[in-house]
């Protein structure tokens, strides 16, 4: 199993470790619920070095990426980034990613850990030979710092001001006399940043930000945080056999261009189920693989993620539910291995007080 640059740090912090995406990763340090609230109310640090980063350059890079990605790359201005899918020809999802436009003809892409090698091969085999593709994953360190108190910490540590950084934009900044890339993105729903740098910078930034009050958070909290926001997790809500359009992320799918898989993704008849939120009536959680059923026990959907929601104080889940039944407020039943749980279909996000889209100046 692979280790990130932070493996020794996690062990020293007493983290509980478990495999994720081929890496031995920290699941929790102080406890999932505590760490969840570090991100919601304070500043949480996540080791995300396991993820993949690619760079694409050349005069055809924009057109090549518009062919490979579901989102509209041509509309991204330098300094901005965009969420989108890498689809297979059948409209299934090979991976979800964020594409950064570094310059007119240069891009940076961030993908999931378990899929990164396959992603890179797939993209390279589907772009023109003149476009230079570089897999930067092995040497790139990545830290996510998230939560309403993180903006002050980042401002204090980085050399250039981050005040003007809007949601889903990025800048080149510097730390310890070396350049790094920082974007106002994340997987928690809170004001936050993703930082791409080298190993030495990452280890130093982790310690410096802990001294300023940031707390380490593991993949357990990362999962409850993203679930409360309704963000998809590859392998749960997204996969090769699930039409990208069923995820409901309309902004990630351009309807006015062709891309690999677009014929199926944009075909209304191919969409039979939609990703929906389910709020359970109690604290007891539905789990991935449980069936959503109607009053006659007929299956109408499938739970893809589920957990107790620390912010809501009850259980929530994401589920693919038959399209005609996806009505906010409708009662649903979930059949678990042990019993039946009642709940109702909910709008997303479940947690509505998140700060990610707020003005950064309010938190500096």
């Amino acid at each position: 199993m692979k280790k990130t640059f932070f493996y020794d740090t996690h062990i020293a912090l007493g983290a509980k470790m478990a495999p994720f995406g081929g890496y031995d990763m920290p699941i929790q340090y102080d406890g999932i619920v505590k760490e969840h609230f570090y991100a919601r109310q304070g500043a949480a640090l996540f080791d995300t070095c396991h993820m993949g980063e690619f760079r694409f350059e050349g005069k055809n890079a924009r057109a090549d990426l518009d062919h490979v990605l579901s989102c509209k790359v041509s509309s991204i201005k330098p300094g901005q980034c965009k969420y989108g899918f890498i689809c297979n020809p059948h409209g299934g999802v090979i991976d979800d990613q964020i594409i950064y436009r570094l310059a007119d003809d240069a891009f940076f892409m961030v993908v999931n850990a378990s899929t990164k090698d396959h992603d890179f091969e797939w993209i390279v085999s589907n772009i023109s030979s003149g476009t230079k593709a570089i897999n930067l994953s092995a040497e790139t360190a990545k830290i996510d710092i998230q939560g309403p108190r993180c903006a002050k910490i980042v401002k204090k540590l980085l050399e250039k001001p981050v005040d003007g950084l809007a949601y889903y934009s990025f800048m080149l900044n510097a730390y310890r006399n070396k350049e790094l890339l920082i974007s106002r993105t994340g997987y928690t729903g809170e004001i936050g940043f993703e930082i791409f740098c080298d190993k030495e910078q990452a280890l130093a930034f982790w310690n410096d930000s802990m001294e300023l009050g940031a707390k380490p958070a593991g993949l357990g909290a990362r999962d409850t945080l993203r679930l409360e926001m309704g963000y998809p997790l590859y392998g749960h809500e997204l996969g090769e056999n699930r039409n990208a359009a069923e995820s409901g992320f309309a902004r990630a799918i351009a309807s006015d261009k062709e891309f690999i898989g677009s014929t199926t993704v944009c075909s209304a008849s191919a969409v039979t189920h939609m990703l929906s939120g389910v709020i359970l009536d109690d604290r007891r959680a539905a789990r991935a693989g449980d069936a959503v059923v109607d009053e006659n026990d007929g299956e109408t959907g499938l739970i893809t993620s589920g957990s107790f929601s620390p912010s809501l104080g009850r259980a929530v889940a994401l589920a693919y539910i038959r399209k005609d039944l996806c009505v906010t407020g409708a009662r649903v039943c979930v059949r678990t291995g042990r019993n039946k749980l009642a709940g109702l279909i909910s709008d997303l996000p479940f947690y509505k007080q998140a700060t990610a889209r707020k003005r950064l100046s309010e938190y500096l």
Binding site: K16, V33, G220, D282, R283, A285, R287, S307, F308
Partner: protein
């Protein structure tokens, strides 16, 4: 420290004899492994339990786990406090975090369980 006034199962429950009742909970190791406990399904009072068989469920953020009866007996009472505040089990697994009591329990079943020293050795051998 693992308390030495009770016995332990290989599935990490403890049982403490208090007069004619057997008090049951989960070990500190079990609560630590489960992480934040978010839900406890208590058994029904009066239900007959068989040694080693699932009698209720504890859920943490990550997973659901069965609690097995350490000894056979009849459910005499349940701890409603852990239903409304499951985190009590994380904070005080050997005290306020007890889950249920049994009456008319099998004293012979106790002989098959571990004392605190054997249980500690068992936990370290599992790690």
């Amino acid at each position: 420290m693992t308390p030495n006034d009770r016995k332990f199962t290989k599935t990490h429950e403890w049982v403490k004899i208090d007069g004619d009742r057997a008090l049951v909970g989960i070990s500190d190791h079990a609560q630590d492994s489960l992480g934040d406990i978010t839900f406890v399904e208590l058994p029904s009072v009066g239900k007959k339990m068989t040694t080693g068989k699932a009698c209720c469920v504890i859920e943490s953020v990550k997973a659901a786990s069965d609690i097995n009866a350490p000894v056979s007996g009849e459910i005499a009472s349940v701890n409603r406090d852990v239903q409304s505040q499951p985190e009590i089990i994380n904070k005080d697994p050997y005290g306020k975090g007890w889950i249920f009591t049994l009456k008319d329990f099998s004293k012979a079943d106790l002989d098959g369980l571990m004392d605190s020293k054997s249980y500690e050795a068992f936990v370290s051998s599992e790690a």
